[in-house]
Symmetry: C2
Subunit: 228 residues, 2 copies
């Protein structure tokens, strides 16, 4: 093909909530460049493969799960010199998952683990390539979309309680939210969540009703990120 060419990769910002805190999935690179550093899971897009297909493939390789995980395109990065191997353009994807347990290391990775977002965002984890910026962009996207969408349910299992959903907002935004007003807002928006009829008891206290996500995906007016 007589056209300018580059390599195209996908990289995944996979977020989940563990122990009431936001975590991001990182792999330890086993090969150069940046061997030993932590990086976003990802890899090359194969010929005749769609970008979303490549993202789902990499997601399944690292987490062992492909269904029930929210995946959306984040942004594409192609600054010259971002990869020492040459002209590499990467399409970054944002994935939001319920707590999946420990990840499986991929082929090129020495290991994989969930890192607390606080540590990563503060620069306490050395990241390869321009992945620190990609993580920051993914975090900001997630935070912004929680305000006006039902995206928070992507962090929850299929059936969840209002308290679980509230814990998502508190973990992603790093704030505390009044449980009573949150309950009223979430259950009072028709179609946002639907009661399943079941209940679940978490230790002491009145058992909570279970909900599943509804068909309404936008929240108007949005929830606002207030101070802690």
């Amino acid at each position: 093909m007589p056209l300018p060419s580059a390599s195209v990769t996908v990289d995944l910002v996979v977020l989940t909530i563990r122990d009431r805190a936001l975590h991001v999935l990182l792999v330890e690179r086993g090969v150069e460049p940046f061997a030993g550093a932590w990086a976003l899971p990802g890899g090359f897009v194969l010929d005749d493969e769609d970008l979303a297909e490549a993202a789902y493939r990499e997601l399944a390789e690292e987490t062992g799960v492909a269904h029930g995980i929210h995946l959306e395109q984040l942004r594409t990065y192609g600054a010259p010199g971002r990869d020492p191997r040459g002209h590499v353009v990467t399409v970054a994807w944002l994935a939001l998952a319920p707590d999946l347990g420990e990840p499986a290391a991929g082929s090129d990775a020495a290991g994989a683990r969930w890192w607390p977002m606080d540590d990563v965002a503060a620069g306490r984890v050395p990241l390869a390539f321009d992945h620190a910026g990609i993580v920051a962009d993914g975090l900001e996207r997630a935070r912004a979309k929680l305000e006006y969408s039902s995206l928070a349910t992507a962090f929850c299992p299929p059936e969840f309680t209002v308290a679980q959903l509230r814990a998502v907002y508190e973990a992603v935004w790093g704030v505390s939210i009044d449980p009573r007003n949150f309950h009223r807002k979430v259950t009072g928006t028709p179609g946002f969540v639907e009661p399943t009829g079941g209940t679940v008891a978490e230790g002491a206290g009145r058992p909570a009703r279970l909900f599943r996500r509804g068909h309404v995906t936008t929240l108007v007016p949005p929830l606002t990120r207030a101070e802690p």
Copy 2:
């Protein structure tokens, strides 16, 4: 480079408002594939060129202007077969501009013109590649971002009246907005727009005050898209 490779292009969804209606910039393709069809302005990303740099270069080639135009990355498209020449991944950008007058045709284009968005969105203009979908995505992005951001000012010259700004919303959303409530919302949000002190008379009626965009870029609560 022993890695999978593809060609990377940028394509631009350039929107403007002419005659109180939203328009999109299209070029008539002069070469195969899709010679004679209309397409988004764009081209190949050069080696050692950043994606944003390529987008600005193409924008300047088509419009003759590069400064004062809002440009943001839209989405990347890479479905197999989207380009008959081979594996071509395109990074689409959304550009919003004040009325620029007639465009200049680029090198590969037989002609360039502003098309009414109504005609393009309704499928009345034959578009090359997957560009119809890209235009639709760009339109939806623009419509959504007007709600909660000061993006509408990107369609206006540096100094504008409240009525001009309102005309942007009406053109992009295809609705009519109460001028009095709009005025109160826009001028009542501190830092959203700032009066320049000047006024301008447009035909009959009291002269309107001029504003420039302020430093506040988010609108909370957002404006809502109501019915006409």
